[in-house]
């Protein structure tokens, strides 16, 4: 149970925190750093003043400095509640606003608050009073959006980051819409204590979401293509350090070797060449050391004798020593790094070797079919898997292959539509624009494979109904 203390420390913004800036429906993820200039929605400011404030606070931006906003100014309705009933007499002559662009710029330069500028605009609009109440509302809202310079600082979460990525950089996350991501996390039954495989090229957003749902319990193995895993998105979540203890990584280029049992993760790996080079480096290091052993005495003798000629030699000696030391340090560093990488690989391999993972989530720019077929082998029977694709056709192929292969049930190819509503008194309707597509999902459950069935046997395109008929006649 939650402790009911009045301790706010968890809810206060600290230096180094990863936060999300919000203005209207626009989000941006940043890290709180001293004297760091941030540009957000055509405005620049420093985040220093946010430190120590509570999360979800709204700040006003005054010449680059955040100032905590005063308690909410309630909808400042124009004092004179004058409004027209319709627009029969409103003529668009382009002259209703008496303030010119320059006037407005001047107001801004004078450092007028957004609220004040809007008030000026209303007072100088000849048609405002004739507008209907609703139109007045709309006018004020529109101007607010433009002139109010406030920013809200939020604690990052899967919801916020998924919305941010979808709004800002859909290309980076394969156009995965946030409702689709929500479906994935649920369909894959992601929860604390399980062992989940993730293959994604969505900047780490999917991985981070999976980690958030696991709360630091269990393990996540990120299967990654290429040289290393991309985790920019994971950073933005700002997880506590212990969350990273549950995160492992495994390069997909070693999957075949692992499945065949030929993956070597012992100390003599990763490759003989690199080992040789490190050996060579070691030898190099050893030699100068041997040479140097005599030198300090010589040097001391030199200095004792007070010979002038010794200085240059000494310098050279010292430089040589320095060079050697640097070389040594570099080689040492490389060795440590390689050893670390090997250890990581061995740890991830050990987790995978049991082929008893509890869930599989795939969302990448790669063709999902080979990825799914390759990684499904690591799952225990009776475990869910979810594959995302921006396009439907590759998932049709996955579906067909899985049906041929067997080993899965409950296959479903789905997508979701997301519709937002404007809910206001007498003005309720669906929002005019809706997202055209948030991608497709193929989900299902693994089952024990039929050992009696010879591999690669010719099977009908769609065995399921056929088999049903058979059993039906029996029944």
């Amino acid at each position: 149970m939650a402790d009911n203390t009045d301790d706010d420390s968890l809810y206060r913004i600290k230096e180094g925190d990863y936060v999300v800036l919000k203005r209207g429906d626009i989000f941006k993820a940043v890290q709180i750093q001293p004297k760091k200039k941030v540009i957000f929605e055509k405005q620049w400011f420093f985040l220093d003043n946010a430190v120590g404030q509570l999360y979800s606070s709204t700040f006003e931006i005054v010449s680059g400095i955040l100032q905590p906003q005063k308690p909410k100014n309630t909808e400042s309705s124009s004092d004179a509640k004058e409004a027209g009933t319709d627009n029969r007499n409103i003529v668009d002559d382009g002259r209703s606003q008496k303030l010119t662009r320059d006037d407005i710029e001047t107001l801004k330069e004078q450092g007028l608050k957004g609220q004040e500028i809007i008030q000026q605009l209303i007072e100088n609009s000849s048609t405002f009073r004739d507008k209907t109440e609703y139109a007045q509302d709309k006018y004020i809202k529109k101007k607010k959006k433009k002139y109010e310079n406030t920013v809200t600082i939020l604690k990052p979460s899967c919801r916020i980051l998924a919305m941010m990525y979808h709004g800002r950089e859909p290309g980076k996350i394969c156009h995965l819409r946030y409702d689709t991501l929500a479906q994935m996390l649920t369909l894959a039954n992601i929860h604390a204590g399980s062992k989940v495989l993730v293959f994604e090229t969505c900047a780490g957003l999917v991985l981070g979401s999976v980690m958030e749902r696991m709360g630091g319990y269990g393990s996540v193995i990120q299967m990654y293509p290429g040289g290393g895993p991309v985790r920019a998105g994971v950073e933005s979540f700002g997880f506590p350090t212990h969350f990273h203890d549950m995160l492992h990584e495994f390069p997909i280029c070693h999957v075949n070797a692992l499945l065949a049992g030929t993956l070597d993760t012992t100390a003599k790996d990763p490759s003989a060449a690199s080992k040789q080079s490190s050996m060579a480096a070691e030898e190099e290091q050893n030699q100068p050391e041997a040479e140097q052993q005599g030198s300090p005495e010589e040097q001391s003798m030199d200095t004792n004798s007070g010979a002038d000629g010794g200085h240059n030699q000494e310098k050279e000696e010292r430089e040589k020593e320095e060079r050697e030391k640097r070389k040594e340090a570099r080689a040492e560093e490389k060795k440590v790094k390689q050893e670390e990488k090997r250890k990581k690989l061995a740890a991830a391999a050990a987790l995978l070797e049991g082929r008893n993972a509890d869930g599989l989530v795939i969302a990448s720019r790669f063709h999902p079919c080979p990825v799914l077929m390759g990684l499904l082998k690591f799952l225990s029977p009776s475990r869910p898997f979810v594959v995302y694709s921006q396009y439907k056709e590759p998932l049709i192929e996955c579906y067909t292959k899985l049906k041929e292969q067997g080993g899965t049930v409950n296959l479903r190819l789905t997508d979701t539509w997301l519709r937002h509503y404007q809910v206001l008194p007498n003005r309720t309707h669906p929002v005019l624009l809706m997202s055209g597509g948030g991608g497709y999902l193929l989900s299902g459950t693994t089952v024990a494979t039929d050992r009696s069935k010879p591999a690669g046997s010719q099977r009908a395109e769609e065995p399921a109904p056929k088999r049903l008929k058979l059993t039906d006649t029996e029944g």
């Binding site: 149970m1 225990s380 519709r419 937002h420 509503y421």
Partner: protein, 299 residues
Amino acid sequence: MSFVEYSDLIQDGDVAIVYLNHESMVPVKVQQGAQTQTRYGVIRHSTDLIGQRYGSKVTCSKGGWVYVLHPTPELWTVTLPHRTQILYTTDIATITMMLELKPGSIVCESGTGSGSLSHAILRTIAPTGHLHTVEFHQQRAEKAAEEFKEHRVDHLVTVRNQDVCKEGFGVTGVADAVFLDIPSPWEAVRHAKAAMKKQGGRVCSFSPCIEQVQRTCEALADQGFEEISTLEVLLRVHDVRTVSLPLPDFGPDPSAQTQPDSTEKTPPGQASVSLKTTTPPREIPGHTGYLTFATKPRT
């Protein structure tokens, strides 16, 4: 087995999901000596289930076979006994994300109904979170409590039999998130606020009718909730199939050069192109309900 923890082997007392075919699954309470009748014949628990691995194929008495699956909230949703209208996985997934549920979350829910959403919440907030669920119908409340015990999640949930609109959730200042699925959610908004942490949190209300949504939004705004947003998520299922489209026969083409080595084509009238595609089901659920979300600011 538990709804919040996987296990490999089926044990006495587990709830297992028997997968008969694409359309039908049934939940089975595993008991030493018990039997379950299916259209493929009898499943004998002692020999066919207990000690077997989840996900294995079970051959029934008539020679037919079924798969036995480990229960998950999603499988439970499609197999549970309905005591009320229930929430389905598409809405549940959206609710879970938009309420920002995660391990450790404290959640209030009303009504409990058939427990479809409750199981999904419990799965997500385990092992350190807690669910306070309120159901004004006594029998339903009792049945839900019994189910939570059977599913070994009772340590994570408190069921209260009271009217949420009059008496609230039975807790104050503890919840990170509140979910409402009742006929008049606007009457429970202030109770939701009272149940939530002073530092704030998220709230969601599910209503089938837009008038309910309007009243709820008004109540939320009155109580100082922010970021009010209403949305609806619709699931589309695509049936994968191979279709073949016949090609029209325009008769022999005199302008076409007949090549001497041209192989015998399919006789006219039989030419067709087949392709893999998907078709939508003939009917799909066009509406379940509107989901209204809001944020309670710090008070």
